[in-house]
Symmetry: C2
Subunit: 303 residues, 2 copies
């Protein structure tokens, strides 16, 4: 089933206790598309880059079934650039530099071939862009929106307009608290459901992820890993695995979303083991199956 992915395609400069990766490939849409490509091959990427972005990277994604009709290449522009440094504990990071470059003019007009997309993953971007994409859709079956505290700080009203239009909202625990004004995640979820979404995914980094509906909650732990080299893109990779699995299985029930959360968590567990897309480009179905079994072991108890 068709999967529309929208978000940044970027260059990243990443420092972690494990090293320094200079000008590597990043961006929400990149991670989402790579992760989803292990599950489905009708992926419609929507983003913007400058002429400095490597053609080879685009071709690699195309070879995995990712359509590029919606990738705008600005010939005289430079690709969005983000530089960050992670603290020793990897749970916190400082942004060292953000050059919006071509992203400053991103106003995505969906190609006609994209408009009937059924599964829609809106990566973290300005709420206005997310709204504009949704307005162009003719037959969405499931819209998932990712966002962050930055937009809550500077564009809460527009963010609420965007959130009102989606089926699933993915945010982290602190963002759920900020958005709702409630500390308890149970109460936060109750408030967020009154804003529009039918499902809420609360991402908790090394502590896992929670899928909530108004009457059900599922908790998927994160796989404890010996080495986390670079957390960049983990949330987007989670979203890509989640949506890729849903687009593949075409089942948006809570029961199937639970499985999708485990597949998303599985993909994220690979993502963080290497810098940039280092691991995400090399996976095999056997790798994924094997790690899914590790999740089963981690979570199963016979009560």
């Amino acid at each position: 089933m068709s999967l529309l992915t929208v978000g940044t395609v970027a260059f990243d400069d990443i420092q972690t206790p494990y090293g320094h990766a200079e000008k590597v490939i990043g961006g929400a849409c990149t991670y989402i598309s790579w992760a989803a490509s292990y599950f489905t091959n009708d992926i419609r990427l929507t983003s913007i880059v400058g002429a400095d972005f490597p053609t080879e990277e685009i071709k690699e994604l195309e070879a995995r079934g990712v359509k590029m009709d919606g990738l705008k290449i600005v010939e005289d522009g430079k690709t969005f650039f983000w530089a960050g440094k992670y603290h020793e504990n990897m749970n916190q990071r400082d942004t060292l530099q953000t050059d919006l470059n071509v992203l400053d003019d991103f106003d995505p007009e969906l190609p006609d071939s994209y408009k009937d997309s059924q599964y829609v993953m809106l990566g973290n971007l300005t709420p206005d862009i997310q709204i504009r994409v949704m307005e162009q859709l003719t037959a969405p079956k499931l819209i998932v929106l990712d966002t962050m505290n930055f937009w809550m700080d500077i564009a809460m009203d527009r963010l609420k307009v965007a959130i009102a239009k989606v089926d699933v909202l993915t945010i982290n625990d602190e963002e759920a608290r900020q958005l709702s004004g409630e500390y308890s995640l149970v109460k936060a979820a109750e408030k967020i459901f009154t804003m529009g979404p039918k499902f809420l995914i609360i991402k908790k980094g090394e502590h896992g992820a929670m899928l909530m509906s108004p009457d059900k909650t599922f908790y998927c732990p994160a796989l404890p890993l010996a080495e986390v080299k670079d957390p960049t893109g983990a949330g987007d990779t989670f979203a890509g695995g989640f949506m890729g699995y849903l687009a593949k299985t075409e089942d948006t029930s809570f029961e199937n979303m639970k499985k999708a959360v485990v597949f998303g968590s599985t993909m994220a567990s690979f993502c963080v083991e290497e810098f940039s897309l280092g691991k995400m480009k090399t996976l095999t179905p056997a790798d994924i199956d094997s790690r899914i079994q590790q999740f089963v072991q981690l979570m199963s108890v016979d009560l």
Copy 2:
């Protein structure tokens, strides 16, 4: 099966955003014993109090099968007192006052009737006291030790002697990192297993708990709650439920310990819903069964 509980019996003064509880009943051994009493009725409490401790509290525990031969009452002494204030987020607290009082002279000599105890829960205390208790045991089947960063700061050598003697160590994630010098919990566990314990339980508060053996890991989430009024005693209540279930079922396999972790988490989820022992004294088997089913729902996925 016999369960020895060792730890503080105390007065607490607790401030949280939900209120202020002055001079209420607290103490690790109290929470452990109350939680365990829902599973087994051969509990042997070992602690020390002053003459100011209410006889009624002792009688209530006795009525639940908790033996008091090991409770030393110092006629001219005052009971251990702790005062603390929780931050808005409940994950952090400041200690406002600690009066050791009779605890300063606590040197537990086990009654003869306690020495053959098979399941042993050593609540957080000085490592020397924990060692002294272990030296008096004649037939322990499973020894579980709880400790905290305070002892790592001031008595690491003695703590390591204590840890070397136990089967299960329960600590939180930051303490696992401090004890091992490893940030990754996978690597931390590997190091801790070389120190003696065969099992490690990493308590993560609102994020749940992990049970680890050298070759297996199980993750039990915490139940998301609408209101957490007072986190005091949650870790001890977890330990009490965990050990109570093991003493009841007499099965120390990893598979059964997984169930015990869920029962411990269930008891802890009740504990935090009221100040002090407010909720822990009022539970019914149906309450516990019902909440166990909530955990099953929270964790189950058919992959």
